[in-house]
Amino acid sequence: MKLAKMFMATSALTLAGNVATAEDMANELTLVSWGGAYQASQVKAYVEPYLEMHPEVKVTWDESSAEAVAKLRAMNEAGNVTWDLVDAVASDSMRLCDEGLAEELNHDEDLAAAPDGTSASDDFGDLLVSDCFVPQIVYSTTFGYRKDLVGETKPDSVCAIFDLDTWPGKRSLQKRPIDNVEWALYCDGVAKDEIYDVLGADGGMERALAKLDTIKDQVVWWTAGAETPQLLADGEVVFGSTFNGRLFSAIAEQNQPIEMLWDMQSFDLDGWVVPAGLPADRKARVMDFLKFATDTQRLADQAAYISYGPARASSAPLVGKHAELGIDMAPHMPTDPANSGNVHVYDYEWWADNRDDLNAKFEAWLAK
């Protein structure tokens, strides 16, 4: 009797609880993203559909993802977190998690399962690199080259970057050690699965920098993703690394004479992070939105607006045509089998340990 009473009481409470959360959800949602074409794809693929279902919600955007970690830390210290959901790259999500600035999630409970019933953690698989992270897309940092400036022989390997004899001219590289030192070691003859062992050993970084030294005076260093497409379009550089979506829009939307070089493209992830310590009503709204925005269909929809691969395995078969250009998107995805023959997956944990040290060496080398 007592037990039954208790049971009834709890179930009544759970029911009441469920009803209450729907009413207790905050109606303001502040999303942080990167701006530009990427944010537009998020608006089209899941924010607008969500707002149709919940017209009472008001969404505010803050285009601060590039400084998300620093700003979130400052907000946290000031005790006033105004963001509800933050779009961040995987390495930043790990740092946010380390600093206690991001909420740890239970991926299976908090996210929708795939249509065939596969749990979220199996559907995302290895891409769940941090407990605080919900990946949305797989993007890659890869090279584009000017078709009309490379001469007769088309480059087919990333090592063309280091071959000034066959392909003279300037190259643009991102102003950070990540990716560049890995490509340098790879082209210096290090096997792909030994790159981090070599880099971590004594003299490894020096070896990578020595390889980069061979092209140093032909390199234009970029910090913003839009720089390389511009440099390529102006003919300032022959090769340039940038995010594959940027190259896609230069090629497919702006008809620039640029071609992709997918060899040794560096896979990376971008996804959502929930700031730690949100009030209950705001958190309830965020989790509701997050569940919707990262389900199988929504992630597949996003690929119709930008050429980044959906992070769920179950979304891949649903990827269709570009929403405006009507071209097939699959061949432009970094994850497409034709493009991902030889890829580089960078080691988040290793870089989390060594980035400060290697950054210092890299900056000293740059200034030399």
Partner: protein, 424 residues
């Protein structure tokens, strides 16, 4: 009256109190009133400027995180001699296990790891990986925490890691400042970093000389412009003034991007030079992404700060002075150099201080047009604030920059005299 002087007693006011005291009281009241009048501004500056700056400066030495997160370990480690080469005692490991269990529950273990990783690369994953298991530590049930911890991660068997924890356990550290001057704490105290890791002193020197170069370029370009502005009739001067101010009102980013288009190798200037035939198409000039690019773009951006004070000083110099000098037999050059120029020095001084101090803290323009050799120390400060999150190092660099600017200001005051500066 004469009585009081004779007796040597105090001079009395009309009400009988000593004059000195009554005067002091009146003055005090006046001072209080003045203070009350400026109180809003004083409070505003204190709260919105001095306190945040002080807080930021304090971060450059603050290191409480290690003792706060690992209190037992810090106490237990105090007696350990790192130079002995032996691992710490069993008690230290037990203390670390207890601290880690608590820290992992509060999710602060990774913060300590991040802090110590600035000094010892690799230690952050030691804390992160151990922390995952630390929540389930059974403190009583393990006989040897030394074996247990080393078993979980062999990093706990590395004397170097323990040395780092011991070295950085005091609540105040000089580590950030040492790092900011390319030094570090080695086994025998402070030492220079290896050649390949020295950045900041080099950058500071570059920042100073490039700011100086920019200031000199601004003086050379602004002087004739200010002179023309001051000597033209009002109507023409106003039109020219708009030309000076128009770029001043344009967004900094727009002006910097415009310089990119002008200076790049396939840019407007190179195109014209090739078209005229001065430069061969295969040997286009490299005039951006280096120091030249930074100096050109920043001179353009900071020029109005030099023209305006010069102009307002030149306007106040009566033209009759020059005419008088000439009527007394001076040549044009002598009249300018001996009479006109000395009168314009306060304007040059004010403009130079403005331009130099603004230039030293610039980072957007150098980041966009500076390439690798034309960036400033402020670029590194911005990097550490927004990207690497090493705010302690950023504060230390900022503190050094502040000290350098104050030092230069002091030197300027000694050499030229700060009274000899006029903004108008």
């Amino acid at each position: 009256m004469s009585d009081t002087t004779d007796t040597g007693g105090p001079v009395l006011a009309a009400d009988g109190t000593p004059l000195k005291r009554s005067l002091a009281r009146a003055l005090r009241r006046q001072k209080m009133r003045a203070l009350l009048l400026i109180a809003p501004l004083l409070l505003f500056i204190l709260i919105s400027f001095i306190l945040p700056v002080a807080d930021m400066l304090y971060r450059s030495v603050k290191n409480g995180i290690v003792t706060d997160t690992l209190p037992r370990t810090v106490v237990a480690l105090a007696d350990w001699d790192a130079d002995s080469g032996d691992l710490p005692s069993e008690a230290v490991y037990a203390a670390m296990a207890a601290d880690l269990k608590e820290a992992a529950a509060a999710k602060t273990h990774t913060k300590v790891g991040t802090r110590l990783n600035y000094e010892n690369p690799g230690i952050s994953s030691l804390f992160r990986k151990t922390g995952r298991k630390a929540k389930k530590f059974d403190l009583e049930g393990v006989s040897s925490w030394k074996e247990e911890l080393i078993d979980i991660n062999k990093g706990w068997g590395d004397v170097g890691n323990w040395r780092t924890i011991q070295t950085y356990s005091p609540p105040v550290t000089s580590g950030y400042f040492l790092n900011a001057v390319d030094m570090r704490v080695g086994p025998d105290g402070a030492e220079m970093r290896p050649e390949a890791e020295r950045i900041y002193m080099n950058l500071l020197g570059r920042t100073l000389w490039m700011s100086l170069a920019i200031t000199v370029c601004c003086i050379l370009l602004a002087y004739p412009v200010a002179w023309i502005l001051a000597n033209l009739p009002m109507r023409q001067a106003n039109i020219l003034m708009i030309l000076v101010l128009l770029p001043f009102w344009t967004s900094l980013l727009v002006r910097t991007s415009a310089w990119k288009i002008l200076l790049q190798q396939q840019g407007v200037i190179n195109d014209i030079l090739v078209w005229v035939g001065l430069v061969d198409d295969s040997a286009r000039l490299v005039i951006i992404n280096n120091q030249f690019g930074t100096i050109v773009a920043m001179t353009h951006i900071l020029l109005p700060f030099m023209i305006l004070p010069m102009y307002s000083v030149m306007q106040t110099i009566p033209p009759s002075y020059l005419r008088a000098a000439k009527s007394l037999g001076a040549t044009d050059w002598t009249a300018f150099w001996r009479v006109y120029f000395p009168l314009t020095i306060p304007g040059i001084g004010a403009g130079s201080i403005l331009v130099f101090i603004l230039a030293i803290g610039y980072y957007i323009t150098p980041a966009l047009v500076g390439g690798t050799k034309g960036t400033f120390i402020s670029n590194q400060i911005a990097f550490h604030i927004s990207s690497s999150l090493n705010w302690g190092l950023a504060s230390a660099l900022g503190a050094i920059l502040l000290a350098v600017v104050l030092g230069l200001y002091w030197a300027y005051d000694k050499i030229v005299g700060i009274d000899n500066v006029k903004l108008g």
